[in-house]
Amino acid sequence: MSANLSNIRHTHGLDVVKPLSITTLILVMMPLVLLPLASIFIFGTSSGLRSFWNALTAPEAVFALQLSIVTSFWATVFNVVFGLFAAYVLTKYNFWGRNALIVTISLPTAIPTAVAGFALLLLWGPYGILGRFLDPHGIHLMFTAAAIILANIFVTFPLAFGVIKPVFDTMNQSLEEASATMGATRWQTFWHVTLPSLRGAILSGALLTFARAVGEFGSTILVSGNLAGRTQTAPLYIFAKFNEGQVEAANAIAIVLALFSFLIFSVLFLARDWLEAE
């Protein structure tokens, strides 16, 4: 019996474990991810492409998508630049409280996005700790596109940093020293030596941040005011349409977001190799 078992384990011809484990993988993913995603597409096209297209081109839908992309874009720009800066400072310098800073940057991962939303309200809202002093001067951050960007920045804060920092950690310090001895200023070294090695990390950090920001809901619904055509992002639009019973309209945008995410992660997958290749 035991001889049989070891025979099977050391079979050279057919490895049973391979097809078995792949099947298991797909079977587990089916009900959890694949089928729910598929149903969006099935439902979206069930009443014809025309109604799908109409739902997609409704002015408020187009606006919601644009607003999502724009606010996510700025949040991404900020978080990538900041993440780069933070990773540089926290790798290069050792100082008291350094680890505390690293932990703080990573904190938003564990904070529910709704909490992020009302935390921003408590600070910047018209009755917030700082907002109440700005409000009389006509400076309103909350319930504007700025609020959405702030919320996006908060919830995606650790993402770019988290991707860039490990690359910094493994980067050879002597590269920078070599560049310096060859006559480069700090900035030249950063631009010609450090940055090129970070291209892949920056791209994936940006795409991750962007993907996450485009889909952000919990904090946005609290800080945006959810005004259709003004501060309603794509996920809020989906939620609003769902609540109104217009599931088709909700679904059309959901499809766009799903495709968007697919696109982003495909780029992430392909472009990363492409950028790192050399």
Binding site: N172, S174, A178, S179, M182, G183, P196, E278
Partner: protein, 375 residues
Amino acid sequence: MKDNIQTNQAAVSVEGVSKKFGAAVVLDDINFSVLEGETLVLLGASGSGKTTILRIIAGLETPDSGRVILHGKDVTELPARARGVGVIFQNYALFPKMTVEGNIGYGLRLRGRPKSDIAEIVNTLIELTHLEEHRRKHPSQLSGGQQQRVAIARALAYNPEVLLFDEPFGALDAQIRTRLRREIRALLREIKVPSIFITHDQEEALELGDRIAVLNQGRLEQIGTPYNVYNKPATEFVATFLGAANLLLGIVNENRFEAEDIFLKIEPDPKIRDGQSVKLVFRPEDVFLRRPENLTQNYQPLVDGIVEEVNFVGAFERVVVRLNISTRPPILVTRPKSETTVFPLEPGVKVPVGLVRFRILPNYTLASERAARVI
């Protein structure tokens, strides 16, 4: 006046450099200079401070006191980028996202040189370092030796004041190491750029250096030609660090070294007074185990000994001999092939022991004595 001429001739001068990291003294009053076209090897164990000296010359570290002078110019206060030195890092530190050409031209681009100039210099260097087939490759596609040549070419591109090599062969296996050493030696002879190597490998030091500076715990023990450092070690550390050495404790008495039944005539030395405790230092290959018939060399008999072990180790034979008195530690002797065939030995045989070359060094056993000594 004479001093000035010397300073002008020196490509690199390190004057009175000291450095502490916290309470630990890393460098203690280091002085040396490298002449134009000369190769100096800083030899020392890890922790001897040799890397710190290199980094101080490169401007990657600042000394607590002392000066660094490059071609007559005091650069102690200048940042690394303004010094114009070429550093070949241990792992080469080639820029991974630049091609071979990009790496070599980097220093020139930083200096804003015209494109045509850069292309010309890069071409010359690629030819010099035989990298023609690899010019468009990235560092990860090159072998260790090729990477090293890129690193050297890259540093040569901007006419460095001095080339600094930080353990350049550390990451390579023994065979390649020997080959590359020869290549670099030939290259340095050709380009005549003053160079400083640091290494912990005495064989490497002897082969590469026009002069060798031996460092021990932040102090310069001896600086001199490979021949002198090897054959006339100034200190016990130098003697034992550069190759194997036998040590015998004794005293000096009327130009004689005395240790119980051993008496050896020595040259008068003003630094050593009668009755002083000294060490007799001699290398295994300087020991003779037969009567000195037909010997033209300067031979002095020591004492009789008993052969304890005979090991054949390829090119030569290693013999362990106990000198007369059993409490004395045995000495190590190496004999060339020619000697072993004519005069075979086996354990238990009694042999006459004599020396063709030796050194008498003061025996510093106390730290205070050591610190007070004058080199």
